[in-house]
Amino acid sequence: MDAAIEFPVETHSFQSWRCYLLEAKYELLRQVRQPAFVLPTLLFPTAFYLLFGVMLSRSAAAAEYMLAGYGVFGIMGAALFGFGAGIANDRERGLLRLKRALPAPAGSWLLAKMAAAMVFAAVISLLLAVLAYTLGGVALAPGQWLALFAVNVIGIVPFCALGLYIGSLVGGNAAVAVVNLLFLPMAFLSGLWMPLSILPDIFSRLAPVWPAYHLGQIAMKVVGHDAGGSVWLHLAVLTVVTVVFFVLARRRLAAAA
């Protein structure tokens, strides 16, 4: 365009990778500074695991099952509350509008929030592993420990997508309420707290409706307590969930801004 104004060379050669790092750092700092988020996010999965998986558990198998289940439960909370409710809050306070007005690269806040959720997922996963190893008597091969950790950290992605969609639909306070409505029932119905086989048959048949069931099954497979479904099928379902909710959320956010 000959009508365009020339910019200094450094504008074009400017590498903005540093702002991605800072964005992620400060996003994590913001979340760490909210005790109302940090305490439940870290304490719920660890305290529940300590109670049901360690103190009340009757076998090593139960301790293993619950290690996998409470791991998924914990990271799901970090993703839905930190990511979903966080976005609803930011949107309500005009932060997303400001980010779009500032030359922040598109999506850098999204990546920053996801990185922060991953850090929380990693901490939850490590805390549970320490409890399971020291107090729960869980003995896994090094590869299994690593695989469980990876499932927990990467497993936040579909729940971030779900949280993003919720956060794009409703405001901050409402998002917390919606996430609460979804979070606990889904954890229970997906068999994250106890095997669905001890419940009436209908629970096992309805479970595949929930994304948490599929991530739970992958984690259970690592410790050898899954229901025998194909990993690829679970992965496919989680991928579809991720794509669908990201697309829906993107449309909502673009229309709302």
């Binding site: 365009m1 365009a4 450094e10 400017f14 702002c19 400001l98 500032l102 922040a104």
Partner: protein, 312 residues
């Protein structure tokens, strides 16, 4: 392309600089509400353009279009001659939005560091502190600051990227006189360096203090534009005040008198030109005292322009 042909048809000489930001016949509606109805607006380097208008006149919509936050339904919008969403164009702009918005749980120095990282050639932290008056605030959490302090932080965030174009959407709402004057000084300093500023404000004295050009919007249309004195001259009227026993109703019948009101022993008259009315006043009431004749301020001009629009 539209933009280019229109620029070529521009009557100004070919050397006329490309505006930093430009709306050409911009239309925007929200459902049935028309927010902008064919608005032309330009901001050039080194000038302050003030957008004046009542709430809902379309000021924030105009800024939203130039920033690429909103899409125009019709007309052309450019920022540095580019589509307004372009990242390299946005890197030349700083912005202070009306509804503020900053991460409340971050400290001021963290907010500055983050915002500076978006820009290729940011100002130093010290420079930002001095310009925006943030002395002693860097280590404080944003949500623990007073409203006025938060507004100053937002101003610092707007200028920290060394922008060539600054959008200030009601920047001094909630600021005390001193803080307001400090912000005005800083804006003048930036303009002296060649920065262009688009300002919206409710405070007419702010527009008078800063603007090179004033654009008055009313219900989505430009109803007047020009320098502060041109806008003022648009309204030739004078305001005459005196202590007099004359009845307001009697004075109101005189030619050239638009309004006459009594407040205690004081008479206030709005006249098209002052001199004939003053002469007649002095003849009619030899005891008249405390005579004052005031030029219309921007406030009077503004009220009259929008009132004329409503009557039309």
């Amino acid at each position: 392309m539209d933009t280019i042909t229109q620029l070529r048809n521009d009557p100004r000489p070919a050397s006329a600089p490309v505006p930093l930001a430009q709306l050409q016949a911009a239309h925007k509606r929200y459902g049935k509400v028309i927010a902008l109805d064919g608005v032309d607006l330009e901001v050039h380097a080194g000038e302050v353009v003030s957008l004046l208008g009542a709430n809902g006149a379309g000021k924030s919509t105009a800024i939203g279009l130039m920033l690429g936050l909103l899409q125009a339904d019709a007309g052309a919008v450019t920022l540095f001659g580019r589509p307004p969403g372009a990242l390299d164009a946005r890197r030349q702009t700083g912005v202070m939005l009306q509804d503020g918005g900053a991460h409340g749980d971050l400290k001021v120095h963290e907010l500055l560091a983050l915002t500076r990282s978006y820009y290729p050639r940011p100002r130093s932290i010290d420079e930002c502190v001095t310009l925006a008056g943030l002395e002693g605030l860097l280590q404080r959490r944003y949500d623990k600051l007073s409203g006025g302090q938060q507004r100053r932080v937002q101003f610092a965030l707007a200028l920290c990227g060394r922008p060539r174009l600054l959008f200030l959407d009601e920047p001094t709402t909630g600021l005390d006189i001193q803080a307001r004057q400090q912000l005005w000084r800083a804006v003048r300093e930036l303009v002296a360096e060649g920065c262009g500023v688009l300002l919206t404000t409710h405070y007419l004295e702010e527009a008078e203090a800063l603007s090179d050009r004033v654009v008055v919007l009313d219900r989505g249309r430009v109803v007047a534009q020009g320098s502060v004195s041109q806008i003022r001259a648009h309204v030739g009227q004078r305001r005459i005040r005196c202590v007099s026993a004359l009845a307001a109703a009697q004075v109101l019948c005189w030619p050239g008198v638009r309004a006459a009101t009594r407040d205690g022993d004081r008479l206030e008259i709005v006249a098209e030109t002052a001199e004939p009315v003053v002469r007649r006043l002095l003849d009619a009431d030899p005891l008249l005292q405390d005579l004052e004749v005031l030029r219309a301020g921007l406030a009077d001009a503004f009220i009259q322009i929008t009132a004329e629009e409503e009557a039309a």
